[in-house]
């Protein structure tokens, strides 16, 4: 049996990427001809194939044998030999872990999209992009070379761009897509500079070589520089402060896109990158602190903003930003397993929440404003119940998946001590807020009196959409059990080979573990309760609460005016500077060139009067020249 696995790993690994890629290529050229349901089915089939292959290839990883402990690398072909860039794949538990999430969640979202995108005139094109995205994301996680990883890194950005502005006739969608790409590029700038240093220090971009024993090659300072630059890249992709601004706007895209790209997979690439390069981050305590701090800050800020949002998807978007902050907090606090664990559970419950929200939007005829919803529980029971599971999971209610992973994140922060204790407090507060805003959302959507606009007839979504909801709900509920501290640290064991030699934050005391779990768990319960009091119960407390929080609410509703601030301090001056530069180019740079030309021409014109037309003037010049010549000669020869 092992031979089969080996064969798959060594020969068919590329196929995992290739299948969706071929799907994308085929659909790009022929999607129009095979029509709506079939193109969706084909795309789903392609990613299902990848999923299947990934499962087969993962079996030895679960088994934890020789194959798991020695990452298999597959050299496909040389790319840029002089900088050690090549197409090489790497299969180890971490890669398997990511691949499974990407293909698994991706497959579910493909299925969901068949229903969601029903009737869209560019239905096949949508699946082209989805498949392309899957291929790109798989390239990212399977790469054993930073250059190849960067291909995936950028291509997922491209797909994000294409999918956000899928409905390009909407100017806001087009603008959002561009914004996402540009902000991501700013992050990539950091990543590229990081890679420059990596190559200059290591002489290669191959991960295997770089991550082998980096401590022997580079100093801590260099490591800090590389890690901080990687952080910039990761912050761009994973929407961390200050580069998170693109993610809320990205909600302009179709909801499955938000679920797949902007919740479950792409945005976690930053976390993956940091986990993957843990060997480097380990060399730099500073970088880890910065990562964790950025993560914690992002978590808190985004969570508060989420409270103030009325758009069903914006809430989830800020929630995603916030949860990604958690993951950063975890990996910053060297809780890599915790971070990845949360990455997984978040993929499940956030995808679930997004898809459910999509289902709501679908049923409400593209209504996204929660103030115009309410009382949908009856009309869309499956959606409501599944979303309920997601809500409780993200709120961290025991024993749903969110509880376990969030607890681990906080535990690793706590375990790191020092400054991380502060971050731990922030994390707890954020947990409370998270529970609050997500409960608020559930109540506004499903409970209370219907506030629908006229003519809206909410209805439950079709089977293709609800099926993934159910599956994800189950996963969101039970995924936490794969990594219960002390009891069943399966994930930790699974990932262990990939994180060999990495010092990780760890709590030894069982009592402490339980205590911390209780603290974080109760924070979630308090948040839920508070939200229920305010939004479900209503009455005097609601009024009291809302009066007290009016001003912060304004700030939250407007996302602390960060977009406006960026607009005023960067975009607008930037534009103005560009205009000025263009004018400078025209007036000064070009002007001086034209000036030289004009001057020459003017000089010619200025000399014309010397040619007076009078023969006697000519005679004088002739005589003067002759005398001058004679004087010159005489002076050279004699005087």
């Amino acid at each position: 049996m092992n031979e089969v696995y080996e064969f798959v790993i060594e020969n068919l690994l590329g196929l995992i990427i290739l299948l969706p890629l071929l799907g994308a290529i085929f659909l790009h050229f022929f999607g129009r001809f095979i029509g709506e349901p079939r193109s969706g089915a084909l795309a789903t089939l392609a990613i299902a194939g990848s999923f299947g292959l990934a499962i087969v290839a993962s079996i030895p990883m679960f088994a934890g044998g020789e194959l798991a402990h020695h990452p298999t690398t597959v050299m496909l072909w040389d790319w840029m030999p002089s900088i050690g860039a090549a197409f090489e794949l790497r299969w180890d538990p971490l890669a398997a872990f990511m691949t499974l999430i990407v293909t698994g969640v991706g497959m579910l979202i493909h299925i969901y999209s068949v229903g969601y995108m029903h009737g869209d005139e560019r239905f096949p094109r949508f699946f082209t992009y989805l498949n392309l995205f899957a291929a790109s994301m798989l390239t990212l996680v399977l790469a054993n070379n930073f250059a190849m990883l960067f291909i995936g890194w950028e291509l997922v950005g491209l797909c994000s761009y294409l999918l956000i502005s899928f409905w390009y006739t909407k100017p806001s969608a087009a603008a959002a897509g561009k914004k996402a790409f540009v902000v991501n590029r700013i992050g990539d700038l950091g990543f590229i500079v990081g890679l420059m240093i990596v190559f200059t220090s290591f002489g290669t971009l191959s991960m295997g070589e770089v991550l082998e024993l980096p401590g022997e090659i580079i100093t801590a300072g260099t490591a800090t520089a590389i890690c901080l630059l990687f952080l910039v890249g990761a912050a761009g992709k994973s929407a961390q402060i200050p580069l998170y601004v693109w993610l809320p706007d990205a909600m302009e895209g179709p909801t499955p896109v938000s679920a797949l790209i902007h919740a479950a997979t792409m945005v976690t690439a930053g976390v993956y990158l940091i986990a993957r390069t843990a060997a480097l981050f380990q060399l730099s305590g500073t970088a880890s602190v910065v990562v964790a701090t950025v993560g914690a800050a992002t978590a808190l800020v985004a969570a508060t903003i989420a409270i103030g949002q009325n758009d069903i998807k914006k809430v989830l978007a800020y929630s995603t930003v916030s949860q990604l902050g958690y993951m950063f907090l975890a990996v910053g606090a060297t809780g890599y397993v915790a971070g990845l664990f949360h990455l997984m559970t978040h993929a499940f419950f956030k995808a679930l929440l997004f898809l459910a929200a999509g289902s709501v939007i679908h049923g409400m005829h593209d209504q996204q404003d929660m103030r115009k919803m309410g009382g949908l529980l009856k009309k869309m029971p499956v959606t409501a119940w599944t979303m309920g599971v997601g809500t409780l999971a993200i709120a961290g209610l025991f024993p749903l998946s969110g509880f376990w992973s969030k607890d681990e994140v906080l535990a690793s922060a706590f375990a790191s001590g020092g400054w991380f204790m502060v971050l731990w407090v922030v994390g707890i507060v954020t947990a409370l807020i998270t529970a609050f805003y997500i409960t608020r959302q559930f109540i506004m959507v499903f409970l209370g009196e219907p506030r629908w606009e006229e003519g809206v007839e909410p209805h439950e979504s079709p089977r293709t959409m609800t099926l993934p909801l159910v599956v994800l709900a189950v996963l969101a509920a039970v995924a936490g059990f794969v990594n219960m501290p002390k009891i069943n640290p399966a994930l930790e064991h699974f990932l262990e080979p990939s994180l060999e030699g990495i010092q990780m934050a760890h709590l030894e005391s069982s009592a402490l573990i339980v205590l911390l779990a209780a603290v974080s768990g109760s924070a979630g319960i308090i948040g839920i309760g508070l939200a229920t009091l305010v939004y479900y119960r209503g009455g005097a407390f609601r009024q009291w609460f809302l009066d007290r929080t009016r001003r912060p609410f304004l700030a939250w509703e407007n996302a602390y005016w960060v977009d406006q601030m960026f607009g005023r301090t960067i975009v607008l001056p930037g534009k103005r500077a560009a205009f000025l530069t263009a004018r400078f180019d025209d007036a000064v740079v070009d002007g001086s060139v034209n000036g030289v030309g004009r001057l020459t021409s003017r000089l010619g014109t200025a000399l014309r009067p010397l040619q007076t037309g009078f023969v006697r003037t000519y005679g004088v010049t002739l005589a003067a020249a002759a005398v001058g010549l004679a004087i010159w000669l005489l002076s050279r020869g004699a005087l």
């Binding site: 030309g597 020459t600 021409s601 000089l603 010619g604 014109t605 000399l607 014309r608 040619q611 037309g613 023969v615 003037t617 000519y618 005679g619 010049t621 002739l622 005589a623 003067a624 020249a625 002759a626 010549l629 004679a630 004087i631 010159w632 000669l633 005489l634 050279r636 020869g637 004699a638 005087l639």
Partner: protein
């Protein structure tokens, strides 16, 4: 009557001149006696005369007399004289073709024009090939006086008269200055032969060569006037503009050939030992010519004036070679050959577009010429590119040659100046192409511009010059070989 000269007599040494003279006289006599209505006989005589002159020049080149002096050094049969004679005869031949429409327009006066062209050629040939300063002066005057008359041959035109008068007054003034230089040379050396100076240097130690150098200055001034070097140039734009279009190309070309050949002979041969003294002044004049010619050409709106100023700049380019010394004789003669023939072609186009007897060729006449007369436009465009020194035309090889010599000769600054000026020169050369190709004529209603018609002979001539310009640009070997074998 040449008995007294003994072995120094060689009819071959002056055979081309004799043939040309005979042709001129025959044309005149026939015209007076037969009073013909057409010019067929003129053409036949011209062909025979030019062909004979060319044939005799060739015979000179092939003969074993090369390098010798005849008529007691009054006529020399060295490489320079043969090359110049070839060039003059070629220019005369091409210019005669070009001048034929003018000749028809002039009617009976055409015979005089033809004879004057022939005699002018003889004069410049003497100027270039004599070892005696008085003989050179005579040659200079034969050529110049013929040109004065040619400038005013369309004497009913005010501008032609103006041109002739200006040319004449300034020309004789310059001749007088040249002659005074000759006199001072005589006063300084006691001889009128060029070789006197080097031989005097060999026998007597010149401690105070002042008078000799002043003589050089005055003689050079007279010749620089002929070749339109600034600041001796002032006559050229007015004369080129005013003189009849059909013959102005010849006037410009012949004077430049003769003038440069004589200048080269004087400074290299007689004043060779004084190179340190005259190099800087000549280089200075070259620089002034290049700058003045280029700048003023930019400001012109008349093509012929533009060509005049560009000719001033070209004189500067050639002077780079002259100033370098005799080593640059191939480069200089190549440049001279290429440039003067281009000049003839360019003026031929001007004569066709503006009319053979016209004075002035405004740029506006050339707008959209590429549509009306593609061949003329292509020829003029090519000549502009060649004059600008564009590679793949003979102009580039020519320029490269003198620049190279200048660089070797230590005139790096001058070469760089010339290179920069050639860039500025692109501006006015290219403007002609702009007019002909890029701009569309503003049609005044009712009077569409007629397409200028050139007779087949002229078209062939232009085609041959164009092809030669490109062929020499790609492979100048034959001409260079000829020059190297001759000089």
């Amino acid at each position: 009557m040449f008995d007294a000269l003994g072995a120094s007599t060689s009819w071959l040494a002056i055979a081309p001149e004799i043939v040309l003279l005979l042709a001129a006289v025959v044309v005149l006599a026939y015209d007076i006696v037969a009073k013909p209505d057409n010019h067929d006989v003129h053409a036949a005589v011209a062909i025979v005369g030019i062909g004979g002159a060319a044939a005799f020049t060739w015979a000179q080149w092939r003969s074993d007399l090369v390098g010798q002096e005849f008529f007691l050094n009054m006529a020399r049969l060295d490489g320079l004289s043969i090359v110049v004679r070839f060039l003059l005869v070629a220019v005369l031949g091409l210019a005669t073709v070009a001048a034929w429409p003018l000749l028809r327009e002039l009617g009976r006066r055409g015979a005089e024009m033809l004879a004057l062209m022939f005699i002018a050629t003889i004069g410049f040939s003497f100027l270039a090939s004599s070892g005696n300063l008085v003989m050179m002066f005579i040659g200079l005057e034969i050529g110049s006086i013929s040109l004065y008359v040619l400038a005013g041959i369309t004497r009913e035109r005010r501008l032609a008269d103006e041109a002739a008068m200006k040319y004449f007054l300034l020309g004789s003034f310059a001749s007088a200055i040249f002659l005074y230089g000759v006199a001072l040379f005589f006063a300084g050396t006691g001889s009128l032969f060029l070789v006197a100076l080097p031989s005097a240097l060999a026998s007597v130690v010149f401690t105070k060569p002042g008078v000799i150098l002043v003589a050089l200055g005055l003689m050079a001034a007279g010749l620089l006037f002929k070749v339109t070097a600034a600041p001796f140039h002032a006559w050229a734009p007015d004369v080129y503009q005013g003189a009849p279009a059909g013959v102005v190309g010849f006037m410009a070309a012949a004077a430049k050939i003769g003038g440069f050949a004589a200048l080269a002979r004087i400074v290299w041969e007689a004043y060779g030992p004084f190179l340190d003294d005259w190099q800087a002044p000549l280089a200075g004049i070259a620089a002034i010519s290049i700058v003045v010619g280029t700048l003023l050409a930019i400001a012109q709106s008349d093509i012929r004036r533009m060509l005049a100023y560009s000719g001033i700049a070209h004189a500067g380019f050639i002077l780079i070679g002259i100033a370098t010394g005799p080593a640059s004789r191939y480069a200089v003669s190549f440049y001279l050959a290429v440039y003067t023939i281009q000049l003839v072609a360019a003026f031929t186009v001007a004569a066709t577009v503006s009319g053979p007897g016209s004075s002035g060729s405004a740029r506006e006449e050339y707008v959209g010429l590429a549509r009306r007369a593609p061949l003329l436009a292509a020829t003029l465009g090519l000549m502009m590119l060649a004059m600008s020194g564009m590679p793949v035309t003979a102009g580039f090889v020519a320029k490269f040659g003198v620049f190279r010599e200048g660089w070797i000769g230590g005139l790096e600054w001058l070469v760089i100046l010339a290179l920069v000026a050639s860039v500025a020169a692109f501006f006015f050369y290219l403007r002609v192409i702009v007019d002909m190709y890029f701009r569309e004529p503003v049609e005044t209603p009712g009077t569409p511009k007629a397409a200028p018609q050139a007779p087949p002979s002229v078209r062939w001539m232009l085609a041959i010059i164009s092809v030669a310009t490109i062929v020499l640009g790609i492979y100048a070997r034959p001409l260079l070989d000829f020059l190297e074998a001759s000089l």
